[in-house]
Amino acid sequence: MTDSPIIAVNGLVKQFGRFAALRGVTASFEAGRLYAILGDNGAGKTTLLRVLAGLTPATRGSIAVLGATNLREVCAHLGYMAHPSLLYDEMSGMENLRYFARLYGIQDDARCQAVIRSVNLDPSLALPVGQYSQGMRQRMSLARALLNDPRILLLDEPFSNVDVRSAREMAGLLGQLRDSGKTILVVTHQAALLREVADEFVWMEAGQIVSRTREFQPEEAK
């Protein structure tokens, strides 16, 4: 683990018309750590993640990811999991991952099979993703985010609609990924799942970071 910030944002503002989703967020995130980003609906958590992923341009402020201010330069090192699955419903999990692997220049199926197994799914499952249960879809979505072996993982609600046992397994997997040196930012409403593995809990409110704590303090959620 190093102490150098792998992500640094300064005075980040994002406005949608007259509504400010982010109101001057300044923060840094260190390499090899797992951050749980918490807060009520509308606090700006998803917007922050989308801005860091390069999907939504900031209205004002600066971002540096892996030292680069142009996020297109470092997108090969990012893994992004959104609330929707980002998968084609008509294709099987393996077909989906095989396609997304090509976008990263990954030609062999072995990598796709490995990441599918890492989330406890079967690579030979021919069922279209549209017929998966919500929990299976979430895990396949996580597998897609892991496909390019990213240095930074941005995960938006990875545990939503996942049963408790699977959610705990996913949290454990995130801990292992953190231990392997990845930096992980997890937006979640189920912070208790990350109690054992998160290095820091970042609380957002009304588009701002209001506190950062090393220990999970449920009362902060109020």
């Binding site: 992923a53 390069g54 999907l55 939504t56 341009p57 297109r72 997108c75 090969a76 990012l78 992004y80 959104a82 929707p84 699955s85 980002l86 998968l87 084609y88 419903d89 008509e90 294709m91 077909e95 396609y99 997304f100 090509r102 976008l103 990263y104 220049g105 897609r144 390019n148």
Partner: protein
């Protein structure tokens, strides 16, 4: 690293596979074009000579309207589950996606044309008096003109609330020069009265200009908000 032709090929194969499984675009296009052929054939009862004069316009307007259905479908499937975001966060180039989409749409519209042309010939009793082989150039260049702009403007309109309306509003005005060239070239070949060469060259120039323009600006469209 990923090679742009490799990404284009992978995206094209994926789109063909999705269309093969869902048949969304082909079915809607075929049904629409079939309706146009049947309704027009009942509405008019042209002589063979009149058919040759109006067929160019009829055929291409039918293909243009039918193509719009496929063009909307192309991007609609990328919006389900926000799959387009997975492409946008990847290092793959925007133009690889664009070329794959244009090629896919070109194939879909070509299949439609191949299936519908015999019906037009039968229903309107068409026979080319001019050099019929030139129809192939008109078909290829004309179809490319429709799909290259159509794919671009469909991508522009996907994030708008009424994208089904927006696409024709954006596409039709800019397609008028190409449509004029397609209709005039087809009519010239069918009637044999004039040479279609000028219109074919105009179509080729139109294709080069608009393909270049679309390739230059597609990255802004893909990554814009």
């Amino acid at each position: 690293m990923n090679s742009p032709p490799g990404v284009t090929r992978a995206t094209l194969v994926k789109d063909l596979r999705l269309e093969w499984r869902s048949k969304d675009a082909i079915n809607s296009m075929l049904f629409f074009a079939l309706l146009v052929v049947v309704i027009f054939s009942f509405s008019f009862d042209p002589t063979a000579e009149e058919s040759r004069r109006i067929a160019g316009g009829l055929v291409w307007v039918a293909f243009l309207f039918a193509a719009v259905v496929a063009l909307n479908q192309t991007w609609a499937r990328e919006l389900r589950n926000q799959v387009l975001d997975a492409y946008r966060v990847s290092p793959a180039r925007a133009n690889s996606l664009f070329l794959a989409k244009v090629t896919g749409n070109f194939i879909f519209v070509s299949v439609l044309e191949a299936l519908m042309t015999p019906l037009f010939v039968v229903f309107y009793n068409l026979r080319a008096i001019g050099p019929a082989y030139q129809l192939l150039f008109v078909a290829v260049l004309g179809t490319w003109a429709l799909v290259v702009n159509g794919t671009f403007f469909a991508a522009m309109s996907i994030r708008t609330r009424s994208r089904e309306i927006m696409l024709p509003l954006l596409l039709f005005p800019i397609t008028i020069p190409a449509l004029l060239a397609m209709v005039e070239a087809t009519s010239s070949i069918l009637t044999g009265e004039f040479s279609a060469r000028f219109w074919i060259v105009l179509l080729a120039v139109y294709d080069v200009v608009f393909t270049t323009g679309c390739l230059l600006f597609f990255e802004i469209v893909l990554h814009g908000e």
